[in-house]
């Protein structure tokens, strides 16, 4: 779908090769067992892929594997040709909770990535650029507890983007926002994606959001998490949320997920 050069694939494509993740049950505190079962997926450089599925289908585990916060029990997770062994600044992560550092102002939160990599001096100019990009210049010196949910999430996006990650992992980043803020933020994420050609992997509960934003939609089944189906979205952006194509695709996906709940096994990819 997206024409990409061989070189770009090398640099920032993602590949999971029958990756499984098994969690041991720890004193009943965590749900043990197989969270991901032999998941294989290729995400091309610059592609925006959504992952939808009921809760407990291992979507977040999948993102954490790619971020390098978890390692697969079996199989491989690769960025380009390199296996992922630890988190680094090339793969940014944004959670549903913005997780801003409450002791830092908006500006210092956005700077955090540059400080962590020790390049603040050289790249200080970028901080203003990214604050402008997410429209928060006026709140530079505010502390996170003064921000609304939408503003905090924009700071979190800017904080992740300032490192120019090759891959941006979004774990239900808009899940806690009200419907209107949410739709506006979807456009902002798309704008950032277009501007930086970042590979994006978006976990969401919201089918509309998946259809509105992504190049492809991965539908997963729960316990253990498997890929049920991958649906390409062949509509031009900006997409009309009320167009016939949009609504048809939306109902297709809902139907698939409904069957996924009842069928035995499923046709794993």
């Amino acid at each position: 779908m997206v024409a990409v050069s061989e070189l770009a694939i090398e640099a920032s494509s993602l590949r999971l090769r029958s990756a499984s993740k098994y969690f041991a049950a720890v004193d009943g505190a965590a749900v043990g067992g197989l969270a991901l079962d032999k998941v294989s997926l290729f995400v091309a450089a610059g592609e925006l892929v959504s992952i939808v599925g009921p809760s407990g289908c291992g979507k977040s585990t999948l993102l954490r594997l790619i971020a390098g916060l978890l390692l697969p029990t079996e199989g491989e997770v690769l960025v380009g040709d390199e296996p992922i062994t630890a988190p680094n600044a090339e793969r940014g992560l944004v959670f549903q909770d913005p997780n801003l550092f409450p002791w830092l102002t908006v500006r210092r939160n956005i700077e955090a990535g540059l400080v962590a990599r020790g390049v603040l001096k050289q790249e200080r100019g970028q901080v203003d650029e990214f604050m402008r990009l997410v429209g928060l210049e006026a709140f530079a010196d505010a502390f996170p507890h003064h921000l609304s949910g939408g503003m905090a999430q924009r700071v979190a996006l800017a904080r992740a983007m300032i490192n120019h990650p090759k891959v941006l992992l979004l774990d239900e980043p808009l899940g806690a926002l009200d419907a209107f803020t949410r739709m506006r933020m979807q456009d902002e994420v798309l704008r950032l994606w277009r501007a930086h050609r970042t590979t994006m992997l978006l976990v969401t509960h919201d089918i509309d959001e998946a259809v509105y934003m992504s190049d492809r939609i991965v539908i997963m089944t729960p316990r253990p998490g498997r890929i049920e189906q991958i649906i390409p979205v062949k509509m031009n952006r900006p997409r009309d949320r009320s167009s016939a194509d949009f609504l048809r695709l939306r109902s297709d996906i809902l139907q698939t997920m409904h069957f996924a709940g009842r069928s035995l096994g499923g046709n794993g990819a």
Partner: protein, 346 residues
């Protein structure tokens, strides 16, 4: 960029608060009439105390020092001055609105104190002198009192600083590193709860001078609570903050010094306050046992001579001294933790 309604929340809050203020002002105009009484609380209190001092005959044979009535006259003068000037200075008006009732009652209490001691003689002497005896001996002995306060301050600050410095290092180490926690926690749990003053016999044997042993004891008293709370604060760092920092490219030093420690600061300050309390106690005890200077020593020295006026004078200074230090720590805390919402006020 595009500002929505939700982003205007702070302003909305201000508006509603202002409206609330306007409404209550409209509903309760009589509040304005009450004010003069409040502004005159201090002069009235001072007048009552002065009346007691001059018009009720004394039973206690005190050498007249006049420092106590002088203090009352100063309060009266300042009270009148404040009542005359509060209209013109907004900050003075605020401060007086807050403080006048308390100061007025405090002044009157001094009068009551004189009434039950010097005038009526309800309490046995020399254990309960009147205000004239106490203020008189405070002023006459001001050199030694000042010297004692200075010594206490030096001892307290050096012991506290030493204890906090060591505690931060041990606390962060135990909180962050699993091995340090495994070996350090049992030691902390067993040795920590022993009151620092219980180590006095050992400290006297080990230390070359009483000054060092006193500093060591105060440091020990501070060390335990600060270490304990620092370690638990660091250990409870939100995992998601660490995850975020790591995906931003953070290494271990960043995670410790820029995520774990700032996140643990509210806890650390609780430890600092607890440590300050125990350090006051240890200071006074240490001054009594080994060090022959400081306010704690002064109190027992004056008691030895049955000069209870000096004992109470030293206690008053101690109260002012300790609460000033406590207030300073609260100010530091408020400055450092501005990012927290809803901090406790001192």
């Amino acid at each position: 960029m595009n500002t929505s309604v939700e982003e205007l929340r702070p302003e909305a809050g201000i508006v509603s608060k202002a409206r609330l203020g306007a409404e209550t002002a409209l509903v309760t105009p009589p509040a304005v009439k009450k004010l003069p009484q409040k502004w005159l609380a201090v002069p009235v209190g001072a007048c009552i105390a002065l009346a007691i001092h001059f018009f009720i005959p004394k039973q206690e044979p005190v050498s007249p020092t006049h420092y106590y009535p002088l203090l009352l006259f100063v309060m009266l003068g300042l009270g009148l001055l404040g009542a005359a000037l509060y209209r013109f200075f907004e900050s003075l008006r605020k401060w007086m609105g807050q403080m006048c009732p308390i100061l007025g009652v405090a002044t009157m209490t001094a009068g009551m104190w004189e009434l039950v001691t010097s005038c009526l003689g309800l309490f046995p002497l020399p254990y309960f002198p009147g205000p004239e005896g106490v203020f008189g001996s405070m002023v006459s002995d001001y050199k030694l009192l000042f010297d004692s306060t200075w010594h206490s301050l030096i001892l307290l600050v050096s012991g506290y600083a030493l204890g906090v410095a060591i505690a931060l290092i041990t606390g962060v180490t135990i909180g962050w590193f699993g091995h340090a926690r495994y070996w350090g926690m049992p030691l902390l749990k067993v040795v920590g709860p022993i009151p620092a003053t219980a180590w006095i016999p050992l400290a006297m044997v080990l230390s070359p001078s009483t000054l060092f042993s006193a500093i060591g004891l105060i440091a020990l008293a501070v060390w335990f609570p600060v270490t304990m709370l620092t370690a638990s604060g660091i250990n409870n760092t939100r995992a998601s903050y660490l995850d975020v920092a790591r995906t931003l490219g953070a290494r271990q030093t960043y995670l410790i010094f820029r995520v774990a420690i700032p996140g643990a600061l509210p806890n650390i300050f609780i430890g600092l306050f607890m440590g300050l309390g125990t350090s006051f106690l240890t200071l006074v005890v240490a001054e009594n046992v080994g060090v022959k200077s400081g306010l704690g020593w002064y109190v027992s020295w004056a008691q030895g001579w049955a000069e209870y006026g000096k004992v109470y004078g030293a206690l008053i200074i101690m109260a002012a001294f300790f609460s000033t230090i406590m207030t300073l720590l609260f100010k530091v805390r408020d400055r450092v933790l501005v990012w927290q919402k809803g901090v406790i006020k001192w």
